[in-house]
């Protein structure tokens, strides 16, 4: 990341209320740095696609403050420096893969020679060179997704917004797409990925934001957001009696003379006295593992109402802002705990 450069995305107080009073976004603030892969998560209907569409001028915001690549949201010329892969994108079936990519380039005002060269490069990058001359109607979902990704990158964008980029793509293709995104990050470009495949996001995202009912419930690095859940898990032959003497630790019997001691810390030095205590008691230590919440755990925690323990129903709703804010404020990890 290059924090000295201006933010690629700097949004404040983005709201969108659709006809019928459906609040899709209720004051979203979001920052994406140059050279960063940013994951946008949220349950169905949380407002992720609406937020991306507002940045791409597909949807008109109710209110918005902020900039994309240093220009106000909605600035048309700036779109030439953006790449966008919509969810369920649909190029005309009569175009070939090559023509679809070139069409995207032309719509970004790229000169013919440049877009042809770039198309060749991108077909190679997404491993579709051999299929480039065939019509999109003959492609599988995954192949169309590869062409869509190539089309979104044809203008060599400074910022690319991808809505479910690996949808329908096989595992090899997914890995290739991840490599493309990390290459872009290495080149100082920004990537905003909207996906439900949390394990993938966890692998590549520098930071994430979790959108719930139109508000950012959490935003930060995965490490910072899961900090409070970090612990060390010690599996040993310790008895409950020994376990009860260890301060701030949870003891759990695993049966057959084995037990689990969970020490809530991410500091390896902090568990040394615990290990010393077990050694002193002549307890056999089987394993010592640092543990933290996965992105999926974090996500589930974010979409679960803490008062009821029930996951929120999908979709935006008409409930008042105060209901949502109460839910958001109740969680200590909801602030951006680290963005560098």
């Amino acid at each position: 990341m290059m924090p000295n450069r201006p933010l690629s995305i700097d949004l404040n107080d983005v709201t969108k209320t659709y006809r019928g009073g459906v609040h899709a976004l209720r004051g979203v603030s979001l920052q994406v740095h140059p050279g960063e892969i940013f994951g946008l998560l949220g349950p169905n209907g949380a407002g992720k696609s609406t937020l991306v569409k507002i940045m791409m001028t597909v949807v008109r915001p109710t209110t918005v403050r902020g900039e994309v690549l240093g220009q106000p949201v909605g600035h048309k010329s700036t779109l030439a420096r953006l790449g966008y892969l919509p969810e369920h994108h649909r190029f005309p079936a009569w175009l070939t893969g090559r023509q679809a990519i070139e069409f995207s380039g032309a719509m970004c005002k790229m000169p013919r020679k440049l877009r042809r060269r770039r198309t060749d490069e991108l077909l190679d990058l997404v491993r579709m060179t051999e299929w480039g001359g065939k019509r999109l109607g003959t492609y599988s979902k995954g192949m169309q997704q590869r062409i869509g990704l190539a089309a979104s990158l044809v203008n060599d964008p400074q910022l690319v917004l991808l809505d479910e980029p690996t949808d329908g793509v096989d595992p090899v293709g997914r890995r290739e797409i991840r490599e493309v995104l990390t290459q872009m990050r290495d080149q100082g470009k920004s990537v905003l990925v909207n996906s439900h495949i949390l394990s993938e996001l966890e692998m590549i995202c520098d930071r994430v934001a979790i959108l719930v009912q139109g508000v950012v419930a959490r935003q930060g690095t995965v490490a910072s957001l899961t900090k409070s859940s970090r612990c060390y898990e010690i599996i040993s032959a310790a008895t409950a009696e020994i376990g009860s003497t260890i301060e701030n630790a949870e003891f759990e019997s695993l049966g057959e003379g084995r037990s689990l001691i969970r020490v809530p810390t991410d500091d390896p030095i902090a568990i040394q006295p615990v290990l010393d205590r077990l050694r002193a008691g002549d307890v056999m230590i089987e394993s010592v593992l640092p543990k933290r919440e996965s992105l999926e755990d974090l996500f589930l925690r974010s979409v679960t109402d803490p008062s009821t323990g029930v996951a929120l129903e999908p979709g935006a709703n008409r409930s008042s802002d105060s209901d949502v804010k109460t839910f958001r404020k109740s969680d200590p990890d909801s602030t951006d705990g680290g963005d560098s």
Binding site: V58, V59, S77, L79, P86, H89, R90, A106, M107
Partner: protein, 355 residues
Amino acid sequence: MIQTLALLHAAYRELNARKLFWVTLALSGLIVAAMASVGLNEEGLTVLWWQFDLAFLNTNIMPVDVFYKFIFANLAVPYWLAWLATILALISTASIFPDMVSGGSIDILLSKPIGRTRLFLTRYLTGLLFVMLQVGVFTIAAFLLIGFRGGSWEPWILISIPLVLLFYSYLFSICALLGTITRSTIASFLITILFWLLIFGVNSGEQVTLAGRTALEISLQYSQEDLKEAVDAGDPIEVTGPLQEMCDEDQESLDTWESFHVWFFTAKTILPKTDETVDLLERVLRDRTGMEIGGPPERQEMMFGANQRISNREFRDRLQETMDDRSVFWIIGTSLLFEFAVLGLVCWYFSRRDF
């Protein structure tokens, strides 16, 4: 410019991919071939190698170049280009806007650095490309046919390209509006056809009421002349009375027909004038090339009003005069105003809508 060319290029590819485009083009070719297979000589009509001797249709009645121009202007253009081919064109192009605003497709287009109004209007023009190519190919083929077979190289024939394009653009603007709002190809096509039928109905109503009005004007004129002659001759009341009564009846009927005609004419002024736009071709060919098609012999009497002495020729000439008095601005200008209003409405809607 790069964006406009890209959209035009994509539209051309789209046309190439549509079978109906080629079917329509093939049908156009068949019609030109059918026109070419028909000939005229001193004895009558020829169809390929067959001769049909006709006393009322031969080169003594009508020169061969006028024969072909007549077929082109009175049969090929109004029945093929402005009717059947138009329906095929509407079927082919009705999906342009529903496809454009469908999810996944519109996102790609709107995320590019192009204004929504420009995007919409460029797509609209690409839709007209279908008709332009069809009419262009057909008209140029007809131009060559009239040149080679009729011996008359008449460039004014080519005016049918912009005229038919204009005619189609009136309907296509409605189709674009409906396609953008409903996002349904079938709905936009069917409602456009209904709108076309509405125009046809208003036009027919206007023509019928105009015909009635014209006939009654002539009838009243004759009645008044008869009355004036009788009064001048000092005829008694027994003679002038019925004449005065006839004048009054004609005047009363004329007032009724006039009021109906005014309503239809006002509605027609607001709506696009599809028939009259296409009919301009015949007017242009008549004015510019001297093409005059003879009418049937004068043997019928009109039945409008009480006076039955109106000749068919007089009635037709008067009607033709009224039609010819209608300015090109009234025909095309007001139709374009309607089209621009529709396009303005759909541009406004398209620019403000979320997708």
